[in-house]
């Protein structure tokens, strides 16, 4: 079909754009970190810091070549793997080798990612369902008690910074009622093998994050539902004789929630890069904590670069997904 062709063309065009964007971003990130006045070769080199050792460190860390060369090695590593000094070797896809953690970065990322994904996905589902349902309830009870109560609830949740609400939830809910053994706080459980354990670990951090995000979605849903309800096509639907339930579900929400796809996609992608504060409070070893510790404590460049790249990849790819999803949702987009 012709429409299908158009869609394919649209998707492939977006895909190409995404790839180019990703390349530019990755080069930019390499240049930015190279430009910083911090020399990783000098770190952890307290006593015997002769120029020789610094040079050896630099070679060991792969910083003795130009930025573009470093970047190119990184790209090559992604496809062919890389060999480092002292017997360290990382098979493809290699994101580099961390001399601080004595591991291939790929492995570190592979361990951190499911944690971050769980957190992001759980929070995403929670805030979407909470935000949208409260938003719809508020819109349907516009100006009444339920409307005001829901908006104050989510606003208070949002105004309290996560580092306060998170710690309060840990101390006064999780530990107070012995819901989780404090030593197991943040332990990773595979959701497919041990769903209860997974839930124990992730429910509260997800709730903390969801609370922080829900307000945006409640307000967004509320105003979009109200605005859409006054659209002519909703009146048409009503004139057709459709029941209010069907109108809300099939007509109002479809149009009102379409714009949410965009912000939800971006918020979700942002979280995939790591929820730094929540991960810290709940002892989750996700990407956020990994990257922040890498910056503030060890200045572990391979980890910093990889997590940064990964985070932007999430954003860029999610943008692509959002665009494609939008093309499916809104037929008008497909044509343009």
């Amino acid at each position: 079909m012709k429409g299908c062709d158009r869609l394919l063309k649209y998707i492939s065009r977006r895909l190409l754009y995404t790839l180019v964007l990703m390349l530019i971003v990755s080069i930019a990130i390499y240049f930015i970190f190279d430009w910083l006045p911090i020399d990783p070769a000098r770190l952890n080199c307290t006593k015997q810091c002769t120029p020789d050792i610094i040079e050896a460190n630099r070679h060991r860390l792969g910083l003795d070549v130009s930025v573009m060369e470093q970047w190119w090695r990184f790209i090559q590593g992604l496809f062919h793997g890389r060999v480092y000094t002292q017997g360290a070797e990382c098979p493809a896809p290699s994101f580099g080798y961390s001399f601080n953690r004595h591991e291939c970065v790929t492995g570190i990322l592979a361990e951190a990612f499911p944690i971050t994904l769980s957190l992001a996905l759980g929070a995403f589902i929670m805030w979407l369902s909470l935000g949208i349902s409260l938003g719809v309830i508020a819109a349907k009870n516009k100006g009444k008690f339920l409307d005001k109560a829901s908006s104050v609830f989510v606003l208070v949740g949002t105004s309290l910074p996560t580092f306060i609400s998170g710690i309060l939830i840990v101390l006064f809910v999780v530990l107070k009622f012995n819901i989780v053994n404090p030593l197991e706080l943040g332990d990773w459980h595979n959701p497919f093998i041990d769903p209860v354990g997974w839930l124990k670990t992730f429910f509260f951090p997800c709730a903390t994050l969801a609370l922080a995000y829900a307000a945006t979605y409640t307000r967004f849903t509320r105003s979009n539902v109200i605005e859409t309800s006054s659209e002519d096509f909703i009146r048409t639907a009503r004139a057709k004789g459709l029941s209010e339930k069907v109108i809300l579900r099939k007509h109002t929400l479809r149009a009102a929630l379409a714009p949410i796809v965009t912000i939800a996609g971006l918020d979700f992608a942002g979280l995939l890069g790591g929820a730094i504060i929540t991960e810290g409070i709940f002892g989750l070893s996700g990407l956020g904590r990994l990257s922040v510790k890498a910056v503030t404590e060890t200045y572990d460049l391979p980890i910093i670069l990889s997590t940064t790249l990964l985070a932007s990849a999430f954003v860029v790819v999610m943008n692509l997904i959002v665009d494609i999803a939008y093309a499916f949702i809104d037929p008008r987009v497909r044509q343009s």
């Binding site: 429409g3 659209e231 002519d232 096509f233 009146r235 048409t236 639907a237 009503r238 004139a239 057709k240 004789g241 459709l242 029941s243 099939k250 007509h251 479809r254 149009a255 379409a258 949702i329 809104d330 037929p331 008008r332 044509q335």
Partner: protein, 344 residues
């Protein structure tokens, strides 16, 4: 024998921050199957508000509706104003349908036209989605859309304005309604397309033996299709007569003004187009007297301050011709004649 739709003393008002807006005030009219009633007036005169009330499309929490509107079905008359909302909902689309002014915004942008028509059909017919689409194609064909096999899967934005309105009509008629309320169906369209749509409506009316209420501000449109005309002003009906009476023997200065404001081939050259001076009245604090009084060129001709103090009744000035004016038929005729000679 009562007519198919009989609206009796219908009033619609909205409470707002500035006070109660009396948008439609004591409206009565009727229309029968196979008949076309035109409701004419400026925007804000209450013509849409009245018919939305008949359709039950007002938000009950923000609207006060009094009066009655009977639909005389074979099973007996139903007052759509007092009937439970669920009963009225089940009449929408099936017994009565409505089409709107802007066909772009009135169609859901995310669903194909076939989808939207099939949805309306499926509401009152048991059948698969495929049956719905088959019926949609039938209807699209009926309203004169070419290449329906392809177009049934297209989306509203892929249609031109006139085509969209045809889609709207197809959707409104998919369940063979007895009453069609067309709210300014041609206002947003080109003149050439306008008459096509009107012809289409006329043809379909004959085919389905529908009652049509045509809401418009355009008397030219009215002349083309209507059997009877209600003129509304300030939330009230000011004149209610057959098409011929309205055009050739208007008995209300506002109607006269409206007629003078349209170009007419038969009076070309001798006739000067004239707009009605002034602004429509606020519907919040309607004057005690005639709503049209501030703009009426003949108000001063009425003895005493009658126009300012008393609102005229909707009197039957001649057989089956109702008008709301303190001037008698003869007085008005005299004044009009004087005006005409003066103009010359």
């Amino acid at each position: 024998m009562s007519k198919f739709l009989e609206v009796k003393n219908l009033s619609v008002s909205f409470p707002t921050e500035d006070g109660v807006v009396l948008a439609a005030n004591d409206i009565s009219y009727s229309v029968d199957l196979g008949e076309t009633l035109a409701i004419v007036g400026e925007s804000g005169s209450g013509k849409s508000v009245t018919n939305l009330a008949v359709m039950g499309l007002h938000n009950p929490q923000r609207t006060q509706i009094t009066g009655q509107a009977f639909i005389n079905l074979e099973s007996g008359p139903v007052d759509v104003i007092s009937a439970p909302t669920e009963v009225v909902r089940r009449m929408r689309g099936k017994t009565m349908s409505m089409i709107f002014q802007d066909p772009m915004s009135a169609l859901h942008p995310y669903y194909s036209v076939g989808d939207q028509i099939a949805e309306a059909w499926g509401l009152y017919n048991s059948g698969s989605k495929r049956d719905g689409f088959a019926r949609a194609k039938e209807m699209l064909d009926l309203v004169g859309i070419p290449d329906v096999d392809k177009r049934v899967n297209e989306f509203p934005h892929q249609f031109s304005g006139g085509m969209r309105q045809r889609v709207m009509i197809a959707m409104a008629l998919v369940n063979n309604p007895s009453l069609l309320i067309a709210d300014e169906p041609t206002t947003a369209l080109d003149v050439t397309v306008q008459s096509q749509i009107l012809q289409l409506l006329g043809g379909l009316q004959k085919e389905f033996n529908m009652a049509i209420i045509l809401i418009t501000h355009d008397l030219g449109v009215v002349a083309e299709v209507a059997d009877r005309v209600c003129v509304m002003y300030g939330g009230r009906i000011v004149e209610n007569a057959s098409i011929d009476e309205t055009f050739y023997n208007p008995l209300q200065p506002y109607t006269v003004g409206l007629l003078n404001s349209i170009p007419r081939v038969d009076k070309l050259g001798s006739h000067r187009l004239s707009a009605i001076p002034g602004q429509p009245p606020s519907l919040i604090n309607l004057p005690r007297g005639c709503a049209f009084e501030p703009r009426c060129q003949f108000a001063s001709s009425v003895a005493g301050n009658l126009c300012k103090t008393t609102n005229p009744n909707l009197d039957e000035k001649s057989t089956d011709h109702f008008a709301r004016c303190h001037l008698s038929t003869t007085q008005l005729h005299q004044l009009l004649a004087k005006n005409e000679s003066g103009a010359k």
